[in-house]
């Protein structure tokens, strides 16, 4: 075998990652019914492992082929009842899912792990074969039927009998043209009342335009319910007799709940786009070509008067702008993906981390269907992993301690997403020990992050910024305490890089909620253009809460902050001209733009408002790096570049203020 190349081709990676994700989702589904795994889910997991193997083999990815083969093999044994699906074995498979994803993107990084895991998967011992007589022998199936049953089907029939249910045989006929659709629909209906074990070709029908099938069903439901599921289709239905009479028990399984979780898209470097969306984009391009053609025609329309010509040009311009708007919208839509794959990854992560930490933790999610920009999903992963790890390592207490505190043994983490206008708010809430603010205060003083007087006066909210500051988080001595500051500065920086902000709400003993607020898309930002001392800046509209006229009156707090009452609250205000050190102008400060993130508010005093614009923002680039208060730049009109304000950073700067934070470690 040739050595693997470092980076497999992207078409392989994206498909492998997607398949692995779907596989992981199904494994988690299996976990809920571990004692009696849903055969259909088990089957699809098996199929997914199989297609992963095929895919890997096609692309010459030897390690992945071996690992997928081992996983497939084990799943096959579960499927056939030759081995029991235990939580430990499920863990092994979930670990394989993680490795598949890494192998898909950077095979060289995990070669050894893959080999070790493949070995573990293959060494899972056969479950003790149930002793005693084979119940299948008692089932009076026609010998020609018995002969064609697969090993899997036999296993399912055995399971049916073990549960004390009946095996039914049904003969149906469907027209040649529609039989496949009819069969699918029938299968869907039968799902509620029993298990369709086998679909066999039936004895030849009298007519040539129909196909006959014999179905074998396992069911604890009565004949009436089964007939209803056939929905009036002509059917010969009879129970397959069992020798040595054994009545079906009344404790038959309740109908299986509907299956959840489709095979939705994945999160890799590449993006799958619905072909219909691409078609619509193509149409837009066609329309733009027409406009281009019309403009070219106008260039030699000499018969037109200047005035008429101007009118025509303006008309084409309007068409052009309208079409560009549509095109932009469609492109943005095409970039949107649901959060589900990301949430699924967190599920697997929580399982693994909780096990490693020896804690009992469940992760509940809501809002997985919320869609955000593809790039945001990618960039969000690391910070989220960090927060989840923090919650498990430092938040959730060990089960014993939790019981002592009168909490349920199992810790609970809730990961939720919600779209609010142009923003998405992701919240990670745990019911663990919470942040000990008094301890944070002490550490901040010890480490010289705050002077003592300020620290005593600081509210918990003020202390938040300490929690997220680098000087605090590098203090390893803090982590074993209830302090939750490990690496939070990194999380904050990452989130800020996505034009997002993070804040935390926490009470000792009750838990913490980290809230990340992000724009729905990064590609364009709707901005409010404000004038300050003759300069123009853009404020992302997603963080603008209010625009008021301002007469310059304000109160001053003891520590020198200016406050203005806004709708019943006193909020701090700051003159953008002063903050940025710009010369004052006569028309200074007539508007107050109230910006806010989570519960923090700040009033920006500006001179003028220049309306709203969709801005294509650009980073300031590596040479300039971080410019305090500025997140990027955007071009508005010919050669006119405006800077986009970093609202989160301004809030930090003004609310924390250089005077509060006296030093940085």
């Amino acid at each position: 075998m040739s050595p693997e190349r470092d980076r497999p081709p992207p078409e392989f990676s994206s498909e492998a990652v997607e398949t692995a994700e779907a596989l992981g989702r199904n494994l988690l589904l299996l976990e809920r019914t571990a004692a009696d795994p849903d055969p259909e889910v088990l089957n699809s997991v098996f199929r997914q492992a199989h297609s992963l193997k095929g895919l890997a083999a096609t692309f010459g990815q030897q390690r992945m082929t071996e690992l997928a083969h081992a996983a497939e093999d084990l799943l096959d044994r579960f499927r056939l009842g030759k081995a029991r699906l235990t939580p430990a074995r499920l863990d092994l498979l979930l670990e394989a899912v993680e490795l598949f994803q890494r192998l898909a993107e950077e095979p060289s990084s995990v070669v050894d792990e893959a080999r070790v895991l493949a070995g573990q998967l293959s060494s899972v011992e056969e479950g003790p074969e149930r002793m005693g007589e084979d119940p299948l022998e008692r089932l009076e199936l026609a010998p020609e039927t018995r002969r064609v049953l697969t090993e899997f089907e036999e296993h399912r029939l055995r399971e049916t009998l073990r549960r004390g249910e009946l095996v039914w045989s049904a003969r149906v006929e469907y027209p040649l043209e529609t039989f496949d659709r009819e069969l699918e629909q029938l299968k869907a209906r039968l799902r509620g009342v029993g298990e369709l074990v086998s679909t066999l070709p039936g004895p030849a029908a009298d007519r040539l335009d129909v196909l006959a099938f014999v179905l074998l069903l396992g069911s604890g439901a009565g004949e009436g319910a089964l007939r209803a599921a056939f929905a009036g289709a002509p059917v010969e239905l009879r129970p397959v007799p069992v020798r040595k009479e054994r009545r079906p028990g009344p404790d038959a399984d309740a109908p299986r709940p509907a299956r959840e979780g489709g095979e939705a898209g994945g999160a890799a470097r590449t993006l799958r786009v619905d072909i219909a969306r691409l078609d619509a984009l193509m149409d837009d391009v066609g329309e733009l070509r027409l406009i281009g053609e019309a403009i070219r025609a106008l260039s030699d329309a000499r018969e037109l008067s200047t005035r008429a010509w101007t009118v025509e040009i303006l008309r084409e311009h309007r068409r052009l702008v309208r079409r560009l708007d549509i095109l932009q919208d469609r492109l943005l839509q095409a970039r949107m993906v649901p959060l589900r794959p990301l949430f699924d990854r967190m599920q697997r992560l929580v399982r693994r981390m909780a096990r490693e930490a020896g804690k009992e933790v469940v992760l509940e999610t809501s809002g997985a269907e919320v869609q955000i920009d593809k790039r945001l999903v990618e960039e969000l992963s690391d910070p989220l992993v960090h927060l989840v790890r923090n919650a498990i390592d430092h938040g959730i207490e060990p089960a014993g301690l939790r019981e002592g505190r009168g909490k349920p043994r199992t810790g609970r983490i809730l990961l939720s997403a919600e779209q609010l206008g142009a923003r998405v708010v992701l919240a990670l809430a745990d019911d663990g020990g919470g942040v000990d603010w008094a301890r944070v205060r002490e550490v901040a003083i010890q480490r010289g992050l705050l002077d003592e007087e300020r620290a005593r006066a600081a509210s918990d909210r003020d202390l938040q910024s300490v929690l997220f500051s680098p000087g605090f988080s590098t203090a390893s001595a803090v982590s074993p305490m209830s302090g939750r500051g490990v690496g939070l500065d990194v999380v904050k920086t990452n989130i800020a890089g996505l034009s997002g902000v993070i804040d935390v709400e926490s009470r000792v003993g009750e838990g913490s909620t980290f809230r990340v607020t992000l724009p729905v898309t990064l590609a364009t930002v709707r901005g409010l253009l404000v004038g300050v001392s003759g300069r123009v800046y853009a404020v992302p509209l997603s963080s603008v809460l209010d625009i008021l006229s301002h007469d310059g009156r304000h109160g001053v707090t003891e520590d020198g902050r200016r406050m203005v009452p806004v709708r019943g609250y006193n909020i701090p205000v700051v003159s953008l001209a002063e903050t940025f050190g710009l010369p004052r102008r006569a028309e200074a400060g007539v508007y107050l733009v109230v910006v806010g993130v989570a519960e923090r508010r700040l009033g920006l005093v500006v001179d003028a408002l220049h309306g709203q614009r969709d801005l294509v923002t650009q980073a300031l680039g590596p040479r300039l790096g971080q410019v305090p208060g500025i997140s990027g730049a955007a071009e508005v009109g010919h050669h006119h570049t405006v800077l986009v304000l970093d609202v989160g950073a301004l809030l930090d700067e003004v609310l924390r203020g250089p005077p509060l934070l006296v030093a940085r470690a």
Partner: protein
């Protein structure tokens, strides 16, 4: 097929006085594309000379990707010298620096960014230089031209380059200081 080396005039014609300053397509004017003069052994240096105040300076032509007519920049709040501001170069935010500070030239840097600055002088140019951290601009009072010199004609500072000064070129018209552009941004 022997390539005829472009004349200095031809090179400058491509740099200067474009109807639209965002001329683009000048990247190919790196040393790689300007054939070395075979007659002189092929190892001669090509320098772009420019003026700041009364002094004459030069940088290697190979690092300069574009010469723009100076225009009002977008000011970066609380920027420290030598950073003057930024301009949007076909979608890339490009910081522009004032080289005079590093070169120890007297005279306050004229405001070049924001609404309060005067119209840039007619002769003023921005040299866009390729750097490891992306493009960066140098605001200069005027561009003189391309100078081809043999390395031997340079007076090099003893013991290697000092600061950013690579060498000095003496010509009948006066001397010209050759600098490392990266040093000017610091």
């Amino acid at each position: 097929m022997s390539a005829v080396p472009p004349t200095v005039e031809a090179i400058l014609a491509r740099f200067r006085y474009r109807p639209d300053e965002e001329s683009g397509g000048l990247a190919e004017l790196s040393t790689a594309n300007v054939e070395p003069d075979r007659a002189s052994g092929g190892d001669e240096l090509q320098l772009l000379t420019f003026g700041l105040g009364k002094g004459e300076y030069a940088v290697g032509l190979g690092t300069v990707t574009e010469i723009l007519r100076a225009r009002t920049l977008t000011e970066i709040p609380r920027a420290r010298p030598p950073l003057l501001g930024v301009l949007n170069l076909r979608g890339t935010i490009t910081p522009v620096y004032d080289p005079s500070l590093r070169l120890g030239l007297a005279g306050p840097a004229q405001p070049c960014a924001g609404p309060d600055c005067p119209r840039p002088a007619r002769a003023a140019r921005i040299l866009v230089v390729r750097t490891a951290l992306g493009p960066a601009g140098l605001w200069v009072d005027r561009v003189r031209g391309v100078q081809r010199v043999r390395p031997g004609a340079l007076e090099r500072p003893r013991g290697g380059p000092t600061g950013g000064v690579v060498g000095v070129l003496s010509t009948p018209e006066g001397s010209c200081t050759i600098v490392d552009p990266e040093w000017l941004f610091r």
